[in-house]
């Protein structure tokens, strides 16, 4: 019922706006030829909504999350709605191409919160009923039981934090679910959104070996849907795990071992028909995440919720330059600000032309397809990829060693090069800065 009502509402609140939308979802067609600063880039955006609360703290996580002392949910919902409207108004985007509910643990939010935010979106902008709406799910029995209601609220894609299929590892990581519960949640999600379920898995976990990882991955491939996100566990300062490693209680696998795990996962996933479309994302049957893809393609996004980041031109106040925006971090303070001032933006920094191109480059190169000439031209109409990168010795070496490819399609990493992207990017950034500063 809710779903139908919402669709009706979307139609009602979209006064004839055209959106460059493909039939498959929120993906924007590539052949539209427009300039940076023109509607192509500034009239649409994706939306990220941050739910900051968690039931407990995972041992590895230093993300912006809070264990709530009291039930703030109704207030949080109200503020998320208000801020969504504020930022949509400010950005003047006419079309939201995708929505992503992340956290924290957004599957702790009541489905009505999700519905409410989506309604707010539809009130201010066009949100196609085919637009991708993803929710991150913690695979506990409670999370599982709410999936259907989330679907009714408008969610059409689930990203499930399976992390590991080893019970012991889940305990070390401080997760509050078992492998069995995770598998059940995946099954239920697939039933509700067939072909639109992603699983998150983590490698490089304490004491993990390359061999056990390979087995675990095979097991996962038997049950997963068409999308896998692969993360290496990074040891962050200030986490419990960091202390344990420092104190010698826990050992992390060596660099060479995690490198082997990564390569092994890439091979295995490839053999099962999964295409690696980004450094840590794999999809089959074209089930890529449109929302995340729009980050890598350098498109506008609006971030709502404590600590959320955004990148957009505030056309509502006459802005013409893209801004990097951050919302206030602490949920209580954020709520107060939204209530009192009508917005929770803490920081806004105008991106220079160079900074914008740097982001486009860094994010674009994460995709296995890299940056094609049209994509680059959208942001840098004056200076093509060949002109920026074609002349440098450093880059010639990368091209010759086969790690980087620059051809008539564009600039991208080779299969081997992608695993070394962070060694390649500094060379590209140095060259970009040199070329841009020469032109200025």
């Amino acid at each position: 019922m809710i779903k139908h009502a919402l669709h009706a509402a979307r139609r009602a609140f979209s006064p004839g706006l055209r959106c460059f939308s493909e039939a498959s979802g929120g993906e924007i067609s590539e052949d539209v030829f427009e300039r940076a600063g023109s509607p192509r880039l500034t009239k649409q955006a994706s939306l990220y909504v941050h739910w900051p609360y968690c039931l407990r703290r995972c041992s590895y996580c230093n993300f912006n999350k809070y264990i709530p002392r009291e039930n703030n949910d109704p207030m949080m919902t109200e503020c998320l709605q208000r801020e969504t409207e504020t930022l949509l108004q400010l950005s003047q985007v006419s079309c939201i191409t995708s929505v992503f509910f992340g956290g924290g643990t957004p599957s702790l939010a009541h489905p009505s919160t999700i519905a409410a935010v989506l309604e707010s979106v539809s009130r201010r902008a066009y949100l196609s009923d085919k637009a991708e709406v993803t929710l991150e799910v913690n695979p506990t029995p409670v999370g599982k039981s709410k999936l259907e209601d989330y679907c009714r609220a408008g969610v059409n894609r689930f990203s499930i934090g399976v992390q590991s299929l080893q019970d012991g590892d889940l305990k070390i990581l401080g997760r509050d679910h078992s492998p069995h519960q995770a598998l059940q949640t995946v099954e239920e999600a697939r039933r509700l959104c067939p072909g639109r379920v992603s699983v998150d898995v983590m490698f490089g976990r304490p004491k993990q070996s390359a061999e056990s990882w390979e087995n675990e991955l095979s097991e996962l491939l038997r049950v997963c849907d068409d999308h896998v996100s692969l993360y290496q566990l990074t040891l962050e300062r200030g986490t419990q795990l960091f202390k344990q490693v420092l104190g010698g209680e826990v050992t992390m696998p060596a660099e060479d071992v995690t490198a082997e795990m990564y390569q092994c996962a890439r091979r295995t996933l490839h053999q099962h028909g999964f295409l690696q479309y980004e450094v840590s994302n794999f999809a089959r049957h074209k089930a890529v995440s449109h929302h995340n893809t729009s980050y890598w393609k350098g498109r506008q996004y609006i971030g709502v919720g404590p600590g959320a980041h955004g990148r957009f031109v505030p056309r509502g106040e006459g802005g013409v330059v893209r801004e990097a925006r951050t919302q206030t971090l602490e949920p209580d303070v954020w709520i107060r600000e939204v209530q009192q001032r009508g917005h929770g933006t803490r920081r806004r920094i105008q991106l220079s032309h160079l900074e914008l191109l740097e982001e486009v480059l860094v994010m674009g190169m994460r995709m296995s397809k890299g940056i094609n000439h049209k994509h680059w031209e959208l942001f840098s109409p004056q200076l093509g990829l060949h002109e920026v990168f074609g002349t440098s010795n450093d880059i010639q070496e990368l091209l010759q060693s086969g790690q980087l490819i620059l051809d008539d399609r564009g600039l991208r990493c080779s299969w081997d090069g992608l695993a070394l992207l962070d060694s390649i990017l500094p060379a590209l950034l140095v060259m970009l800065e040199r070329q841009i500063s020469q032109r200025d």
Binding site: D256, N292, V362, L420, D422, P426
Partner: protein, 642 residues
């Protein structure tokens, strides 16, 4: 026994004195009538000792007891003016203080010259000694004779000075003056009865030291009837007044307004100010034969006050005194600003510091890795450390100091090269300029004679260490039933970096070490290259003894391996002699270097990190295709952290 308390310039700074005291100070100056001190009532002496044996504390007591400074608890190392001296408890720069002392109804002028303890500064010691007739040789009652005690003793002994052994710190719980007297008897052949047991800290028996100075040290051989003749034994530079020269008057008298000549330059100057150092400058009207003091005569450049120079009156030329051999740099190190933008600042800091330490040689140098800098020559390791510390503390300059090297020599065989260099023998300070074997008939390396004193339980370990450093034992003597003195001939190169630290650690701090230069010896030296993926690294060229090439090369490769980050390809770090590789380490290629996830909320942080890497990349030094961070070379080149 009475001590004359004179008011002096130093006291002017005390706040209790009102401005009217200026007048009395003025008259006080005239109360020292130096003509009242004939030569036979003058004693010139210095104090020599191993580090920490209490030389400066004794000097403080002597100053207090003769009223040169007020007696308070705050007099700690009054003569050690430099921060580095106070921190390290060492004396770097000789200081002079004139004490007025009453003994058996007579007033004596005692000129105390406080000298550095370490033989690195033995040029200071020998200069000071030339102005003295006697020395106080201080030995710690607990530690006994140490390496520098021996070295300093011989300096005084060779100069034929009266030596008064003083055993200090008898108040300590573990003091064993008996044993130290035995050592003094055995090592220095001085009868034990001549030793004076004191506690400089508590002042115990310090008066006996003063009596001994008067009784046992001969008066200087000088006559006021001779023409004026003075030795410049030290000089300082003052920005306002120019050069302040410390002089010992060997004959005649000099007064304000006299026209004097420098025998070295032949230049004439007019005396503007002269006086005693008590230890602060105390102007007087005249200085007489046998006395020690300072003179300011309009010299604008330190080079005009050449140490060892003779001064005489314009109208009465005299034959110049023998002077000193210039101090010779024995340890060289590169010094570079941490950042090239600090080059000018560092340059002026080095210039100012060398104004007061003419024994440091300065040569411009540049390195691909470290940029523009200097190669500085020092008299020894401590000298280098002290210089560096003064640079950092007094001039707030942050510097990169490369591993010290020694001056090698090569005897050229090619007539063409001999003609080019103007001599058959050349000195090589920069390893990059090491001439090829084919044009050289032999290489020479500087040698030192090292003295090690240690409890005999460590003898075995010490001998092994010395053997590993190509040391040749010259002799070994028990100075008492537990302590051994060993003499070794070492190549200087083998002891410049970490020898002293190793010696200290293997003897739990009990062994002491000192050395004196012992000329040059033929050596089988070779040039070692460090290669990165086959490309030689100019700044890492090292001259090594053939027998030590492998271990040195291996150590350098290991240090480089640890400080060069992984690259996208494998990097071979090699040490080679000619075309032959003698050591190798491999830096494995990155197999993966990419952050696991990057979404909307991660961009800002990720960009910051990458921009920092891109900035760092610009500063990398490229050797072939290998990118090397600057600090990688610094890690290899600099001295090891202590």
């Amino acid at each position: 026994m009475t001590y004359t308390l004179l008011r002096h310039r130093w006291m002017k700074r005390l706040p209790v004195f009102s401005s009217s005291s200026m007048v009395s100070t003025q008259t006080d100056k005239d109360t020292i009538d130096l003509s009242k001190f004939p030569v036979d009532r003058i004693r010139n002496f210095c104090i020599i000792a191993h580090i920490d044996h209490g030389k400066s504390t004794l000097a403080d007591r002597l100053l207090e007891m003769t009223g040169a400074i007020a007696t308070t608890d705050k007099n700690k190392q009054v003569l050690d003016k430099l921060q580095v001296e106070r921190e390290r408890g060492i004396t770097v720069k000789a200081q002079t203080a004139t004490l007025i002392y009453s003994h058996q109804g007579q007033q004596y002028l005692l000129n105390l010259i406080d000298t550095p303890g370490h033989v690195d500064f033995s040029y200071e010691v020998s200069r000071s000694i030339s102005a003295c007739q006697g020395v106080l040789l201080i030995v710690d009652a607990n530690q006994g004779i140490q390496a520098q005690t021996v070295a300093n003793f011989y300096l005084a002994f060779e100069a034929q000075l009266a030596i008064i052994p003083v055993i200090n710190k008898i108040d300590l719980k573990n003091a064993d003056p008996e044993r130290v007297e035995t050592q003094i008897e055995k090592v220095f052949d001085i009868p034990r009865e001549e030793c004076i047991r004191i506690s400089a800290k508590l002042g115990t028996n310090v008066d006996k030291v003063l009596q001994a100075v008067v009784d046992r040290i001969p008066a200087p051989m000088a006559s006021t009837d001779d023409p004026f003749k003075a030795l410049v034994f030290d000089s300082n530079f003052d920005h306002y007044r120019g050069v302040v020269a410390n002089i010992a008057v060997f004959g005649g008298r000099v007064k304000k307004g006299d026209r004097i000549v420098s025998a070295y330059l032949g230049k004439t100057y007019e005396v503007n100010e002269l006086g005693l150092l008590r230890p602060h400058e105390h102007p007087t009207q005249k200085l007489f034969a046998g006395q020690v003091g300072y003179i300011i005569a309009g010299m604008k450049d330190v080079k005009e006050a050449q140490i060892g120079d003779t001064l005489y009156l314009q109208e009465q030329p005299v034959e110049a005194l023998p002077g000193f051999k210039p101090a010779k740099a024995m340890v060289f190190a590169g010094m570079y600003p941490m950042d090239q933008s600090e080059y000018q600042g560092l340059r002026s800091a080095i210039e100012r510091l060398t104004l007061n330490d003419s024994s440091v040689t300065v040569q411009r140098d540049s390195s691909m890795a470290l940029g523009a800098g200097w190669r500085l020559g020092f008299l020894g390791l401590l000298h280098m450390e002290v210089f560096n510390q003064r640079l950092e503390q007094e001039y707030n300059a942050s510097v990169i100091v490369t591993a010290p090297t020694v001056p090698y020599k090569a005897v050229l065989s090619s007539p063409k090269l001999i003609k080019e260099h103007g001599s058959e023998e050349i000195t090589i300070v920069n390893p990059a300029q090491f001439p090829d074997r084919s044009v050289v008939s032999e290489y020479l390396e500087p040698m030192v004679l090292g003295t090690i004193l240690s409890p005999d339980t460590y003898t075995g370990k010490i001998m092994t260490l010395c053997l590993n450093r190509r040391g040749i034992q010259k002799n070994m003597v028990y100075i008492d039933d537990q302590r051994v003195m060993m003499k070794y001939l070492f190549p200087l190169n083998e002891i410049v970096v970490d020898f002293y630290d190793l010696l200290k650690s293997l003897s739990s701090g009990y062994a002491s070490f000192d050395y004196e230069n012992a000329g040059y010896q033929a050596a089988d030296l070779i040039k070692m290259n460090i290669l990165l993926n086959g490309q030689p690294v100019e700044e890492l060229i090292t001259i090594v003894h053939r027998g030590r090439a492998y271990s040195t090369g291996k150590a350098m490769c290991e240090r480089l391996k640890d400080s060069i980050p992984r690259q996208m390809f494998e990097v071979a770090v090699q040490a080679s002699i000619g075309s032959k590789v003698i050591a190798r380490e491999t830096i494995k290629a990155y197999r993966k270097n990419v952050l696991a996830k990057c979404y909307g909320g991660d961009i800002t942080r990720k960009m910051k990190l990458l921009k920092k890497q891109a900035e760092g990349k610009k500063k990398m030094r490229r050797i072939g295709n290998v990118e090397v961070p600057k600090d990688a070379f610094i890690n290899v080149l600099k001295r090891k952290d202590k």
